[in-house]
């Protein structure tokens, strides 16, 4: 499993294939981020695509190359907000960026929407780990290699992140 840093270096050296690996690695997390903002699968897909293209263009400016995950997450969020704002302008009167996501057609069920919202409220490192672990289904060992951190650190951080989600879950259940 190549680390994000190595893949970014390879992209900057001219390898499009390396970028494809990053896209595959982060497509679910990035969709999730966009979905969290837009609440709609179709627009989330557009935002995710836009985010990856922007990331590709801005890649030489990424100083901290091991932080590709949090960096593209930020880009995805901005892309999604930008799409949502355009939508708001078009459909004037509706000022909410994040709508209730309860309709089956193109929208998440409410409990999943709440869980997604809870994930999005996590600190960015924790959010990245949760998304890589459960959305992209990477093993802890893989995540350690992707992020350049130790297995022990990832295990601890994941445990803390799950603890926070659990607390939010329990609160929501009350």
């Amino acid at each position: 499993m190549q680390s994000d840093e190595k893949l970014v270096n390879a992209c900057l050296a001219g390898s499009n294939k390396a970028f494809e690996v990053l896209v595959r690695r982060y497509e679910r997390p990035i969709r999730a981020v966009a979905l969290g903002v837009l609440g709609d699968f179709h627009r989330a897909e557009d935002a995710a695509q836009d985010a990856f293209i922007r990331a590709w263009e801005k890649l030489p400016g990424l100083r901290n190359r091991e932080a590709f995950g949090p960096w593209i997450t930020k880009i995805a969020r901005r892309s999604a907000i930008s799409i949502a704002q355009r939508q708001v302008r078009i459909a004037s009167g509706n000022c909410r960026l994040v709508q209730a996501i309860e309709k089956p057609d193109g929208r998440l069920e409410s409990d999943k929407q709440r869980l997604l919202a809870a994930v999005m409220k996590l600190r960015r490192e924790q959010r990245q780990l949760i998304m890589l672990r459960y959305f992209s289904r990477h093993s802890v060992k893989d995540i350690a290699q992707i992020t350049g951190r130790s297995v022990g650190t990832i295990t601890k951080q994941l445990s803390r992140a799950r603890g926070k989600l659990k607390t939010q879950f329990e609160r929501a259940g009350k």
Binding site: Q2, A10, A13, V23, R28, E45, L108, K112, Y134, E170
Partner: protein, 391 residues
Amino acid sequence: MTLEDKLERKLEELGDTIGSGEGLVNAVMNQIESSEPVKRPESVLLLRRIIMNSKISKLAAAAVIIAAIMIGINSFLGSGTSVAFADVIQPILDARTVTMDILIGPEGRQAVIHDEVMGSRIRRTVSNVQGTDIIIDLEQMKVLALTHAEKTATYIGLDGLGKMPNYLELLQDVVTRMQNKEEFQIEDQGLQEIDGHDYIVFVAESENETITIWVDPETVLPVRIKQKTPNMQIICNNLQFDVVLDESRFSMEVPDDYVVQQAGGIDFKKSSESDFIETLRIWAEIIEDGYFPDSINLGDIVKNGPKFDQAFKQANLTKQQEAEIAMRWGQGLVFIRFFKGQGQWHYAGKGVELGDGNTPIFWYQPKDSETWRVIYGDLHVEDIAPDNLPK
């Protein structure tokens, strides 16, 4: 099921709902591939230019023949040992210094040619030949062979190769070729792990040639280049740039206590069948005891370099005779190294005795010709229709 288990399951279900698939990946990659190249740092452009440069191959071929010819020259000059060798990566010549190992022929059984490059000059040694260094000056198109045991220094001219482009010109050319991508289809294979190291791998393929380049992702410099054509494979290994080298090692001046010899030169513009036939004759008569060589591939020539020396010693030739014959032998190699016919040439001389008029040993199709030229063991030539070619 604990709350934590439930949470994990719900997270996974959420991930599945968000889903994946080729849609997003394909959309992103298609857009990237079809978009205008994004401006990258200079190092990145440099890599791209090196990778996409189809001229590498042509210059490699040019340099390889220099090397092949010098093998003969060295040996014929009675160095007691030497073989010399190849230049593969012209684009790096204008880097301040470069060192590399060159392997010609099938992997695992070649002699290693070690090159030190400083500007337009190369200092070259070969692993299976001790005691001879070759200094090549690509500006003056001249070679100086130093045989240390006998303290002889031999100048050899290399006419007709034309001006070798400098680094900048080459890069400009590469950029144009990159944009057009006419000759090569480039496949980016991404990161690959080899012997515990990660390399970016690019494969450039044309009709008759495949060039694979391994690049260090940290330095964005190539560390290994493999060039494969139907008749030859060259691997350029352990590439290192800007190594500190002593300038005096590249001097074309003869050391004080060395005796100077003139060997004449090779004309690279002259590429004729008759010269090649003369090469075959010398090969069989002088080097192989009346039989044609098993192979005329460059890699085998390098591997068998010391054999040339030995053969000349046994032939009891004068230094002047050795030099003259070496030049004639080398001149004929231009024919196969800069082959101008159609498709590939074929060699079948292994085990054939010089004088055997019934056995074809070499055949090729000249450009724009419907028939083939077939050379037999007695070195007569016939024009043969494709249907009647040797099997």
